[in-house]
Subunit: 420 residues, 2 copies
């Protein structure tokens, strides 16, 4: 069943969020934190309607024949709801990213110029599957003084709706108008498309989900986008790489959580290192259940490897598969990454500091690693607290985005009659 | 005559710029500065071909019946070329915005995280009329380690082409490959449109020019855009405004350079102040040749004012016209600005600090002024050095953009085998 909604109704909701954002930006940190704690408590106290709604989503998912992984992403239980609440309390504990004077200076004519951080305004969140995004994104938006328009995936619509209902109930008689959290109650793609061009009411769109969703937003939105996600990450094993470090990093980056965007997808291996160490490398990969797709040189030494072609180099497997290519030097590795990488996370393993430095200069990506796993590209791991996503774009925010990515600046000019 | 170009040729040029950008990001500050000085010297030494080309543009402009203002914007002479060269030398003197460590920290596992500034890559500059943008934008791009693709307006194409030829000649045997500066030698709109979607080769588009040009880029580009320009700026004269300060600021903001984006377009006047001071206000405006478009209350006190409607409130006159509206309080002024403003520069004149603070909180714009002219929203006036434009968007850069707006960041992770 498709839940349809008129474009004009989506527009009305966006406008309500915008009006609410004007009240939000006047709130103190204390007022915002109080609301976040209230939301957390309320979610824990009203689990039942959320779990009932979730059961409906799960039943619908079963009918549609979803696989175990997708069913797990959809599924909620009491512990997961308690985790949502804990997440909100953690956001409350984070530093308020707004109202900070970044710098100030006085011109010769005594005009005092102050550069301060302020909320963006209205955030449009377009996401798939996981209902936790409904809570996490709302918490981050409110903490940074922004209103939010939520457009979740159709598979989780009952759960998302129930979560928002509980949050709206909690916002009653709070400092935050409940209009600050808008939920587009529709499974109609037109509702999503309507958000793409609503520049007059929405300040930024953040897509969270698979590559196709992100691409659709990037290609069609006139509202500015914070692009997140796709990570075709490489590990370059240099001629001077320590064998044990290389194996540890490869196995961690490939197998710890293969479905996340900071997992490694391709190994680029210096020919000299490969000649000496291919046996232990392939043995180790096999022990960890990794399927190797390789170039000719790899196939010469591993008969059961799958021949790798263009599509392998460009692929974000998100599974226990890895593409392996033998290269002549760090420049060749950088060229390959340049061609196929998504500017997310790229690693070099080497004991040669000079080669490491060269790799980090040559390769253009959000995060460059020397002798460490790509898995650290993560707001939590880097100590940013909650994360709104990992930006793979260059403007505004790059890499893991915490609360500051949801702010902009204002120049405040304090004068006494200055003219030019 | 239309100079056409194939989309594939534009793509080739963008790809050449991208390849050159990889060499540019490896250059030292000294190498870049040396090139900027060489460009400056070379322009001063080769004025003749530029002036000859400019004469052709001016002749064509005359044929097309351009007005004096446009002819003046197009026209070059020896002094103006010397100014271009001086501008390049000033950019050379500015601090290099790349290679700076913004912050670093060490995780518990001893992974050292370093956040450094790096060039964006390739800048696509789409601009109208003034040939100075050809030089200024190139200087700013090269200083920040970026390659640039220049698409100037058809009216200045001969001048722009001649300037780029001289610059290309200067880049021979320099540290910067001449491919780093690409000039789209076409007056075909298709060439501009081709740049809009060239995400794989261009990192950011910067439109400089009229509202229609900027809107076309914003509406159609999938490449991220740094939106510049349109300024429908307001001055709110509060109940507690000092009369002399108010008049000085109004006249300066309206008449100093009416055609620039930080000029004032609408005056919002508190009814009490208006009642007491409308005569001196209108007299002063008249003395300075300003035509008043007013609401009913204004018309009641100034019979020769032109009735103002929706189109006046929304209009960036860029001339000696001003719209005047009488309002009841600071909230009404903020509401009006919210509805019609372009989030550029907004001023309040008042002796009441509390009202000033409230105005600055309520109004969402790049620059908020208390008792000063909106004309200070300018990279030069604020001490940023050369300016790439004034951003009216909220993401990445807001307000006057200097060199830092042309950079992004990279996280460099220095490890010794860390895994998660």
């Amino acid at each position: 069943m498709t839940l349809t909604i008129e474009k004009t109704d989506v527009k009305k909701q966006a406008k309500l969020a915008q009006d609410a954002s004007k009240k939000l930006r006047m709130l103190s940190t204390e007022e915002k934190n109080k609301v976040l704690y209230k939301l957390a408590d309320h979610l824990e106290e009203h689990m039942e309607p959320i779990l009932e709604a979730n059961a409906k989503d799960l039943e619908a998912g079963k009918q549609k024949g979803f696989d175990d992984a997708l069913m797990d992403r959809l599924s909620l239980d009491e512990q997961r709801i308690r985790d949502f609440a804990e997440g909100l309390r953690e956001v409350a504990e984070l530093e308020d990213p707004t109202g900070k004077t970044i710098t100030d200076w006085t011109l010769e004519n005594e005009l005092l110029v102050e550069k301060v951080t302020v909320p963006l305004g209205v955030i449009g969140m377009i996401y798939e599957a996981r209902p936790n995004v409904t809570v996490d994104a709302t918490g981050l938006a409110l903490k940074s003084g922004n209103a939010i328009v939520l457009k979740g995936g159709s598979n989780a619509i009952q759960s998302n709706k129930a979560i928002v209902d509980v949050m709206h109930d909690a916002l009653k008689n709070s400092a935050v108008p409940s209009e600050a959290v808008q939920f587009i109650n529709s499974t109609d793609r037109e509702a999503t498309n309507a958000l793409f061009t609503m520049k007059e009411h929405i300040d930024v769109l953040i897509p969270r989900g698979g590559g196709a969703l992100i691409q659709a937003v990037v290609d069609n939105a006139t509202v500015p986008v914070l692009e997140t996600g796709v990570g075709n990450c490489h590990i370059y094993i240099d001629e001077d790489a320590d064998v044990q470090k290389a194996l540890n990093i490869i196995i961690n980056a490939k197998t710890d959580r293969p479905a996340v965007c900071n997992a490694a997808e391709t190994l680029l291996i210096h020919e000299k290192w490969f000649k000496k160490n291919h046996e232990v490398l392939f043995d180790t990969l096999e022990q960890h259940g990794v399927t190797v797709h390789g170039d000719e040189e790899v196939l010469n030494h591993k008969a059961d490897a799958i021949p790798a072609g263009e599509s392998d180099w460009a692929n974000e497997y998100l599974s226990l598969d890895v593409a392996v290519k033998v290269v002549g030097n760090v420049e060749a590795a950088a060229d390959h990454i340049d061609r196929y990488g998504t500017k997310h996370s790229e690693a070099i393993v080497t004991e040669n500091e000079k080669t490491a430095k060269r790799f980090m200069m040559l390769v253009d990506a959000a995060a460059l690693y020397h002798n460490a796993s790509t898995r650290f590209t993560d707001g939590g791991a880097l100590g940013f607290g909650a994360e709104i996503g990992i930006s793979t774009q260059k403007l505004h925010a790059r890499g893991p985005m915490g609360l500051p990515a949801l702010t902009t600046i204002k120049y405040l000019m304090h004068g006494n009659g200055q003219i030019r």
